[in-house]
Assembly symmetry: C2
Homo-oligomer: 470 residues x 2
């Protein structure tokens, strides 16, 4: 092993091979559920260095855990406890290689932080639409590795749909330069989409060419109370018809999630929390003007009120007010954390099945564990719910998790199978869900995945035990 | 072989195994460049039958050529001349399994004709946006197998981006049911996008769940003469800024392509052909009204005239007039065919590089083969040109092709490499470009493709010799 360490030092330089001191930023996952031990944390500065690091590890038979901002939710980017895995941190590779305005593309390295890219795009007059809670520290490489979703998928798609080309170091340490800025390229299998979302198990994404969009003239939000989840789904359809691609966000929040938020963040001034079972937040990105955006929202809300889909509504009077409304939605996970540990689910269901799914599953969970409090919120526009279960009032969170997590997961996962859903919508599999996947994924699909893993990483050194059981 | 034939007859029924009579509809490619000979044409009526057919062929070691409407441009869906390949025609599998209005999805079988799906969607109040010249006979299975592009990619993406889930029969005859209607599902490798665009070389796509969109309130076109390709690219950027997702089409046509069209179809009444080097066609899909669509177009054209990007422009006064303008653009390939054989290229280039690419390549070709006439047209909005070379006036088309095709292909392909382009934008590889690919594609990418092919079709029975050399 010491030979490997010296070899790695010779490739990336001694200061960039970390073996001592507090490495918990690299070894512990974001949710602080596991703390591994790395053989070394290696921080290459170029694609060529990444390739050499992979070759060195492959020759030594040492496995590699690629890591970006280490903000993942599924324990996929930290080493195991063996002390035998190399963490390959991409954060030093953070160059913006090229902005091509006429082609509406930007080429960046894997270590660029999402928020930096949003800002760089904005300064050049464009929008990079990916937006998610960890944007201040997650990296583009991590976004690609996990096919990150977020709040704008309804309009712009997941990270996969935002990417036109990749640069990848294969499991053999070869460099594939597929940094195409092409919107049409039918010259063979879609390697790009195969690496995207493979969570570092097939190779290392080192750079990408991503889509940019014109900045909308105005982004406004509306906040509305709806009488039921059925009404929320109908309102979504109405807003899609009337606003078309202007509808760039459609979030849903149940009463309890807003109550919690109000309780822990009383300064947020939530428009209405009282007696409404659900609220929704709509975002309209208008290519004309703020006035036009508001006029279109007025029109949608008028129709919705007439049809009984909305009980009460607030349309933001300004961009600042829009941000405040978003802030309410974004504060739910924080309020929830303040309230104590809870059982989290990142799930998706065909939008048409969501009302039935939620009604049935709420009832099943309430019957199984009386007194639990459901924190239901998420991206209704793309069918993704964060369907979380908070311990009964006064119950100890940790004990609750220990006692109930498996049982409640099983209820939720079985319900997902019944309603055509997925046990991981936007967070991925990692090691957290790797043992659940065989129960809930088609055996044929799993077999195909194993064949691909075997074909592209026959040595099994790329992030082993993640996505697929080792 | 006769044992296999009887086996196939027992699976799909004797009338659906064709071995005699004129099978040229299945054996000859759309462009009539090659005419193969099938062992049999098998027409299964269900996914289960497809699976059994694949198993039977695999057991007999007989290779399979999946086929939809057989309208492909790259000789990918007809058998070779050996008489030893089974054509698997999916056209009998043409059921619409489900429309899910609230989820904005439709699930259809592979044999549904594109135009039928467009109509079915429209009758349900939705838009299925894929649109291309062969839409009256091409099938959804073929669209998926080749990742078809067309005229609306600028806004809606290629077929890959329109698909949420697949049902596939693997090369081993297993059925993978991945017919998800989910917009977020991060539970493993992207098998869907791997099969899409694999041209039947990894398995058989039998059904798909596809995205639907709300019907726009109005679709209008504008037709404009521009002073240069540079101006066309600038106008594209302007239109994207002003119309955002409303801009659903942006086509370009050079002077000669319009002259040819005018000559062979004088009734089309082309707005201006005379002295303008390039014309463009813009489509605006408006979610408010026809009046609003026109108002937005007026605004764009006013800005463009002010900035000197446009010399003259016509904005359609009605939907009928919009269709007429589209008809001009769509008649170019027909006019070209009337004029005689020509050397076709379906290429893509980053939009920013198109002006230089065209100027340089036009000059190189003119120098190499004096008198040739360039028919340049295509989907400028997504960087895809149909960059075709017509024989000099009076020259015999067939002799010209024989003499010049290879040499001109080489000029074009080398130029594409220089400018970051692709030798196949939307048509695929098939057998037409399979021997060119190794010269113009990254060897690392090709090696990865071979490893995937070997992993998923180790027997090599799925459409051998297409995409990858056999």
């Amino acid at each position: 092993m010491s030979t490997l360490i010296s070899h790695l030092q010779s490739i990336v330089g001694t200061p960039h091979v970390l073996t001592e001191g507090d490495l918990s930023a690299y070894e512990q996952d974001w949710r602080r559920r596991i703390h591994g031990k790395a053989l070394a944390v290696v921080r290459p500065g170029s694609t060529e260095e990444v390739a050499q690091v992979v070759k060195a590890c492959a020759a030594a038979g040492v496995s590699i855990v690629p890591q970006g901002g280490n903000t993942g939710m599924v324990e996929g980017s930290v080493p195991d406890e063996s002390g035998q895995q190399v963490v390959l941190s991409l954060t030093r590779m953070n160059a913006v290689r090229k902005i091509d305005a006429a082609n509406l593309t930007v080429t960046v390295e894997a270590g660029v932080v999402l928020q930096s890219l949003q800002q760089i795009a904005a300064e050049a007059g464009f929008l990079y639409p990916l937006s998610l809670a960890a944007e201040g520290s997650c990296t583009i490489g991590g976004n690609l590795g996990t096919n990150a979703g977020g709040t704008a998928v309804l309009r712009y798609g997941n990270t996969r749909e935002l990417c036109l080309g990749l640069e990848v170091v294969t499991a053999q340490g070869e460099i594939w330069n597929g940094l195409s800025g092409l919107r049409k390229d039918n010259t063979g299998y879609d390697l790009r989409d195969l690496y995207i979302g493979s969570e570092g198990t097939l190779g290392v994404i080192t750079a990408a060419t991503l889509k940019l969009f014109p900045q909308p003239a105005a982004k406004l939000t509306a906040f509305a109370a709806v009488p039921s989840m059925e009404a929320a789904v109908e309102l979504l359809g109405l807003a899609q018809r009337e606003l078309s691609a202007g509808l760039t966000g459609f979030e849903v929040m149940n009463q309890f999630s807003l109550q919690l938020t109000d309780q822990h963040f009383p300064n947020l001034r939530i428009p209405f929390t009282a007696d409404h079972p659900w609220c929704v937040l709509l975002e309209n990105s208008d290519n004309e003007s703020e006035a036009h955006a508001r006029e279109r929202f007025d029109h949608v809300m008028e129709l919705a009120l007439e049809q009984g889909l909305v009980l009460d509504a607030v349309i933001a009077e300004s961009v600042a007010q829009s941000k405040n409304l978003w802030h309410i939605r974004e504060s739910i996970p924080l309020a929830q954390a303040q309230e104590g540990l809870n059982i989290k689910h990142d799930i998706s269901i065909p939008v048409s099945n969501i009302p039935r799914f939620v009604a049935e599953t709420d009832a099943l969970i309430a019957a199984a564990t009386p007194g639990v409090r459901m924190v239901d919120f998420g991206h209704l526009g793309d069918g993704n719910l964060h369907y979380n279960v908070q311990a009964p009032l006064g119950d100890d969170g940790e004990a609750f998790l220990k006692r109930e997590e498996k049982r409640i997961n099983t209820i939720v996962y079985e319900q997902l199978m019944k309603h055509g859903g997925s046990i991981s919508a936007e967070h991925g599999v990692g090691s957290l869900k790797v043992h659940s996947l065989p129960k809930y994924k088609s055996p044929v699909a799993l077999q195909l995945m194993r064949q691909i893993k075997q074909a592209l990483d026959p040595q099994g050194i790329m992030n082993p035990g993640r996505v697929l059981e080792a």
